[in-house]
Amino acid sequence: MSGRKVARIVLVLVFIALLAVPLVMKQLASRRERANSALDATAALNRYGFHLDEVARASAINFIHQAPTLDHRLDHIMPQVASMGAAVSVVDFNRDGWADLYVTNSGEGSKNALYKNNADGTFKDVAAEMGVADLNQVGTGVSMGTVWGDYDNDGYEDLFLYKWGKPELFHNDAGQKFSRVSDKAGLPAWVNANTAVWFDYDRDGLLDLFLGGYYAEDVDLWHLKNTKMMPESFEYAKNGGRKYLFRNLGDGSFEEVSQKVGIDTRRWALAATVADLRGTGYQDLFIANDYGISELFFNDGKQFREVGKQTGVGFSPKSGMNASVGDILNDGRYSIYVSNISEEGVLIQGNNLWVPREGTRGDLLKYDNLARAMDVEMGAWSFGAQFGDLNNDGTLDLYLVNGYISADRNMNYWYDFSKIAGGNSTIISDAAHWPAMDGRSLSGYQQKRVWLNDGAGKFVNVAQAVGARDVFDGRAVALVDLWNRGVLDVVVANQKGPLLIYKNNVTPENNWVSFELEGAASNRSAIGAEVRLFWDGRQQVQHVSGGSGFCSQNQRRLHFGVGKNPRIEKVEIRWPSGKIETIKKPVFGQLHQIKESA
């Protein structure tokens, strides 16, 4: 046999072997997924240290989200346009020490719910008697989400409601009633918003408010002037809503200063969160945009600078739908998680986990996307996500909900979606050009992700194993210790679906400690305060957030898992005012309520 022939045979064999590579990679991936097969509660507890039980009904919560019905000219793509509005935020509105839940609805005339925690395992909807239920009246738009913050420092958390419509601010009257104060606050007449965050951007002790528009504010989705209200591009759209930064003037009114301080963007914001990323004491603003790149604004106290490209987070356009931060590496720095879209065989954007690059800090801070390396990349059509230590082992885990439109299981809209998404702006921006959905699904019935942090740079999805087995169209997720047990329970708001309460059962071997902060010189909600816990030679930083994830807000209380037999060294609290307090050897297994010293 000639050498040429032998070479040809070898070539053919190598060619066949290479064709088999994708199948081998698939096999390896499915091995990893085997960790995610369903387990009973005991097995899950033994293997992963926690198990989730869905207890909404048992907790007397029977909330089903309703979607709006918009202008009839959008009928053919209504499920796609009216695809958001299920939101949940956590608050202890009456300061009884038990976490309550506020849940939005989005059907015209539908009611929002304020679930008061009865401290006995059940909840009662008190929204109507408190005056915050009937907020989706025809002509005023419909609810998209809420964030809580004590804007007047009276000790009670106030409610800001953002809508596709008229935003509203409600003053909490000592936990007895809510009073509408939107007019005095000077809020705009109409904003199609999907994100808002309370934070004290200028550290004057008063909470300010960021509000991010999605559709342009001159679009009334119930009375369209024309159908050219869609994004002008699937990845480069800049025809979305404007952004607002309301500076708290301290007398119940706010001054809109976004342009003045350098926040001037019309990208399609879906999620925003803030954190002191550079250690300056000022909270920086991160915006995850749909149809485009993310934006990061460094806050210098009086001015903001957009540094998305410079830091690496704002270069590749995707479909940002979540922004949450967490110290996932226990190195005292925040990583940022942005969810995007991945659909097998059609669109593989992958979610982004922006981890601060080693050796970079301050204004030279840079981020690398380590979502793939850390196995938190593929979340299907992802929406809300939150970091929290679900098994109290001392590392932050990640809970992600997903699923866009679950309709006909046997027909999907992806072909038509991809057809139009690739078109020029003149085509994509006009809803009239979009093919009819005709009851088809679009990334529906998707399995959720509960990514467990192994502490060594990898996450493993254990959603099925630990009991997170719903396939509703998840939007918002919030983490909260609902029954003061020293664990993080999970609350999920689903579009056109039920509010789910996953009660978390954690192995008692793992310990915890939590902190409830109250500002004095700082804003009373202590939003922006950082707690740095040092134990067993490790450290973890968390901050009090005024809104994170997608249309959600976690509990204000900061919860740290510390694993088995912890030796807690100290806790360092940095208040928004700049004060730093240290507590030596705080007792674990309990909540510490700490007031900022005057």
């Binding site: 990679m25 759209a237 669109l347 994509i428 009239a432 050009h433």
Partner: protein, 282 residues
């Protein structure tokens, strides 16, 4: 999309300020596609990172060098392999690195493995990309989005591409395909009732620009006569319509994957029959 549409058809010369500047036609398509990549990336960030495109290009070049040396006993000109690699770098979308390397190597290897009577059947990058889309849909997608919102980059690419293809004497293939696509878009709109703009929407995206200028015009994997080139590309557009009516997202890639080699095989078979009759070796 990897065999240069511009096979040597003479070395064009430009008269510039009294000096003659010559440029081998083989290098015009690589330059063009590189320009698209660089401008697209700097203006719109079409690549998530340079490393993926670089990996695809390097793998294609190395594979071509090694295989060319082994099977043809010489170092081959790398223009075609470069186009294959850069096409893979642009058209494949994956957060993983391995699909870029694998796709490039499979594309180049297909030229050496899948041959009949000394001719390879598939356009190399069309083969590589389709194989990855078939076998690894959980990791790989193809570029289906647009670059930018503006009409001018689109016009520039279409005009420049047309000029290059015209110089390469392949403009009839591209024009036939575009006209066929547009005609079938209206047929699809009539059949499905979907807006006609949604049916022509895909051709305004970058995947089609690369497809029209580099894939369907590949001289090595198209039939020889001008008339049959037009007929075959019309059949590609027809097959694409059938696939689109069945909601196949990557219809053009798959249509070429099916029709292109079939046309080649028929031509090879007809040539061998003619040769057998006349006793002349084809």
């Amino acid at each position: 999309m990897s065999q240069s549409a511009a096979q040597p058809v003479g070395t064009p010369t430009l008269q510039v300020s009294g000096r003659k500047i010559s440029l081998d036609n083989r290098y015009i398509p690589p330059l063009f596609i590189t320009t698209i990549l660089v401008v697209g990336h700097f203006a719109y960030g079409i690549l998530e990172g340079y490393e993926r495109a670089a990996l695809a290009i390097v793998c294609a070049l190395v594979a071509e060098l090694i295989l060319g040396r082994i099977f043809f006993g010489k170092w081959l000109n790398l223009a075609n392999a470069y186009i294959s690699g850069i096409s893979v770098g642009i058209l494949i979308r994956s957060p993983a690195l391995w699909p870029f390397a694998l796709c490039s190597v499979l594309s180049i290897m297909s030229k050496y493995v899948l041959r009949v009577k000394g001719r390879h059947l598939w356009n190399p990058s069309n083969f590589g990309i389709c194989v990855l889309l078939f076998l690894a849909p959980e990791t790989v997608a193809a570029l289906t989005i647009q670059w930018g919102n503006f009409i001018w980059p689109l016009l520039v690419i279409w005009i420049l591409g047309s000029v290059i293809i015209w110089r390469a004497k392949r403009i009839h293939v591209s024009v036939t395909y575009v006209l066929s696509f547009l005609a079938f878009a209206f047929v699809r709109s009539w059949i499905t009732g979907d807006p006609w703009r949604s049916e022509i929407s895909p051709i305004t995206g970058p995947m089609y620009q690369l497809f029209v200028f580099f894939m369907v015009t590949d001289p090595k994997t198209t039939v020889k006569s001008r008339k049959w080139q037009c007929i075959v590309v019309f059949i590609v557009a027809f097959a694409e319509m059938l696939l689109r009516l069945n909601h196949v997202v990557y219809a053009p890639l798959y249509a070429l994957f099916i029709v292109g080699p079939a046309a080649m095989l028929i031509e090879i078979w007809l040539e061998s029959r003619r040769s057998a009759k006349t006793g002349v070796v084809a």
